[in-house]
Amino acid sequence: MTHAGATTHHTSLGLDNRKMAFWAFIGSECLLFTSLISTYLVYKGRSVVGPYPHEILNIPFTSVSTFDLLMSSLMMVLALAAVQRGDMKWGKIWLFSTALLGLVFLGGQVIEFTEFVHQGLTIGTNLFGCTFFVLTGTHGAHVAVGVLWLLTLWVRALQGKLGPANAMTVEITGLYWHFVDVVWIIIFTVVYLIQ
C-alpha cells in the first residue's frame, strides 16, 4: 500500500509485485482453510454428546448472512470500478457499503453464536462445537480484518488520499474480500447445507 511511483516498476512477468504476493498469500490461506475444513469433515458425526448440527444450525438465518456477504462482494466490485475510473464519490460509497455489509455479516455471526451458546453449544461442549467455532471463528476474524482494511481505505478516501493512482491497492483489497467470500460459500455448503 505505498503511494504512487512504486506502482510503475517493470517486473519480469509483467504482474505487479503486490498482486503476485497477494496471490501467493491466497494460495497459503487456501491450505489454512483446507486444514480447518478437513478437520471439520473428519470429526463430523463423531461428537459423543449433543447438541448436534441438525438440532442447532439455522439455515434460513445463515442463508440471509450468506446473501449479505455475496452482496458485499458486488459492492466491492463496484468500488474498484469507481476508483479505477476516478469517480471517488461513488468509490467512497461502495467502499463504505462493502464494509457495512461485512459488519452486518459479523453481527449475524454474533447473534448466531450467542443463540448457540444459549442452546448449550460452546466451543468446549463437543467436537461439533470445537470444529465449528474454530472454523467459523477463523473465517470471521478474516472478515473483521477485511472490514478494518476497508474502513481504513474509506477514511483515506475521505481525506482525499485515495484515487485512481491507488487502484492496485483497491484491487488487492477486492481480491482479499472475494477470497473471504468464496471461503464462506464453501463453509456454508460443507457445514450447513450438507449434513
Binding site: A6, H9, S28, V42, N126, T138
Partner: protein, 602 residues
Amino acid sequence: MSEARGLKSWLTTTDHKRIGLLYFWTAFIFFLIGGVEALLIRAQLAQPNGHVVSAETYNQLFTMHGTTMVFLALMPLSASFFNYIVPLQIGARDVAFPRLNAFSYWVFLSGGLLLNASWVTGPLFHAGMLNVAPDGGWFGYANLTERQFSPGPNIDFWLLGLQVLGISSLAAGFNFIVTILNLRAPGMKMMRLPVFTWMTLVTQFLVITAFPVITVGLVFLMFDRFFGTHFYVHEAGATPLLWQHLFWLFGHPEVYILILPAMGIVSDVLPTFSRKPLFGYPVVVYSGILIGFMGWGVWSHHMFSVGLGPIADSVFAATTMLIAVPTGVKIFNWIATLWGGAIRGTTALHFAVGFIAMFVIGGLSGVTHASPPADLQQTDTYYVVAHIHYVLFGGTIFGLFAGIYYWWPKMTGRLLSERLGKWHFWLQFVGMNLAFFPMHFIGLLGMPRRIYTYGPDLGVSTLNLVSTVGAFLIAVSILVLVYNFVRTRRRGQRAPNDPWGGATLEWSIPSPPPVYNFSVIPTVANRLPRWRTEHHGPMTDPPALPPAPIHVPGGSWWPVVAALGLPVMALAPLTHTLWVAFLGAAVLLFGIYRWAFEPFEV
C-alpha cells in the same frame, strides 16, 4: 555494505545484505546453543544410568535441541543466503518487499528469544525449577501435550514460539517468490537461474503451503490447552492421530525445506571448483520441483507403527520409494559434474563433496525406512536418529558450510583461512561419522530414542561412548570455524570481486557489494554469464561506479515495531491475561498501519 553505521541503522535496515548478515549471526548463535544442548545429551548418554542431567531436564534438552536446530538454526542459516545471495544471483537491487524482509527477521529473532526464555523463566511460573523449557519433543505428539499430561507452561512456550516463527517464514516465503519470479534482470530467464535460486524458489512454495497446516495443528493444541476444546482428546470422540497427520503433512515438506537449499548450494559450488558446468542442469532443476510436489504424498511414512492398515502402509511405502528417485539422480548429476573436471580442493568444495558422501548414507538408511515392516524395527530407535543426522547434519549443515566458505568473501570482503577451513572440515567429518554412524547399530540393537538413560545390559554402552566422543569432536571443529571467523575479521586477506572464478552474477560485483548491488543492471544472455564457453564469451562486469546516482530506499522503524507486537501477543496466554493480547495486537496493527502509509520508494 551501506554507509550508515550504528545500532539505529541495523534496527531500521531494509537492505537485504544487512538482513542476511543479521540472519546469519543470529542463526549461528542459535546453532551453538543447539549444539551445547546436544553435547549435554551426549554427556548424559555416554554411560548407562548416567547422572549428568535429570530425566525432566534431558527431555527438555532433546526437545529444544530439535526445535532449535530445525527452526532457529538450519532454516535461518538458509535464509541468510536467500537474503544475501538470491538478489545478487538474479541481478536485482533488493528483494520485492524490503520492509517485509526486515519484519521477517525481527519476528524470527523474537520467536527464538521467546522459545529460549523458557530455560530461565521457571520462577515466574512457580515451577520449582529454573527451566520450564518445552519437554514434549520437537514433534510434540498429542495427547502427551494436552494440559492433563503437561500441566506446566513448557508446551505453551513451544506452541507459541512456533506460531510466531511460522509468521516469519511465511512472510519471507511470499517475499522470495515474488522476488525470484518478478525481479530478474533482463535476459535472466527461469532456466538460466543458478540452481541455488531455483531451489530457494521451490523451498518458498513448500513453506507457504506447509506452514499453514502446522499452524492449524498448533492452534488446535492451543485451544485444547487454553479454551477447553477437544481436538486431540479421545474421550470426546477425537483422536490424537489428527495431530500426527497435521504435523507430518507439514513435517515432511519441512524436511525438503531443510535440504533443498543445501542441494542448491552444492549445485553452485561443484561447477565452480570443477571448472565445468553442472551436469544435467534441467534435470537437477526439474527433480527439485518434482521433489517439492512428491513431498506432499509421503507423510504417513512417519506413522508406520500407528497401525494405518496394510493398504495405507503399502501406498505410503510406494510413494516414499518413488521420491528416492529424483533425490538420488541428483547425486549422479553431481558426480558427473566432478567427473572430467579440474577439481580445486577449496574448503567449500570439501564441504560440498562431504555433503554428497554423507547424504548418500542418510538417503540409503531412508530407503530402509521406506519399507514398513522393516521400519517397525527401526522407527523410534537410534537408527532413525542416525538417518536424520546423516541427512540434516551430513547433508544440510555440510551444504550450508560449503555456502559459508563459498560466499563469505562476497558477504564480508575477506577470505576465510583455507588452512583452518581444512582443519574444520576434517575434524567435523571424522567427528560426525564417529558420532552418528554407531547410532545405526545402537538402534538395531534395541535402544529407543528420546530416553534419558539406558541399562548396561543392552550392550550399547561402548557405542554410546564412541558417539559422545564424536559429538565433542564436532564441537572442536566448530571452535575452529569460530576462530577462523574471528581471526580473518580484521587480518583476513581482502577478497576481490571473484576469488573463485564463479560463473554467476554475484561474482561480477565488488566484495562486499555496494549498497545498490549493481552499478548497472546486467543483461543476461546465458546460464553461465561470467564464463567463456564454446557458445559465448564472458559478460562484461558492471562498471565500478554507476553512471547516474541510484536511489536506494532508506530504513524504516515500522517492521521492527510491528514485529514486536507478536511476542507481546504470545505473552497473553503465558500470563493468562487477555489485555496483553490486545496490547500486542494494537502494537502490530499500529506498526502495519504506519508501514502501509509510509512513503517508501523501492
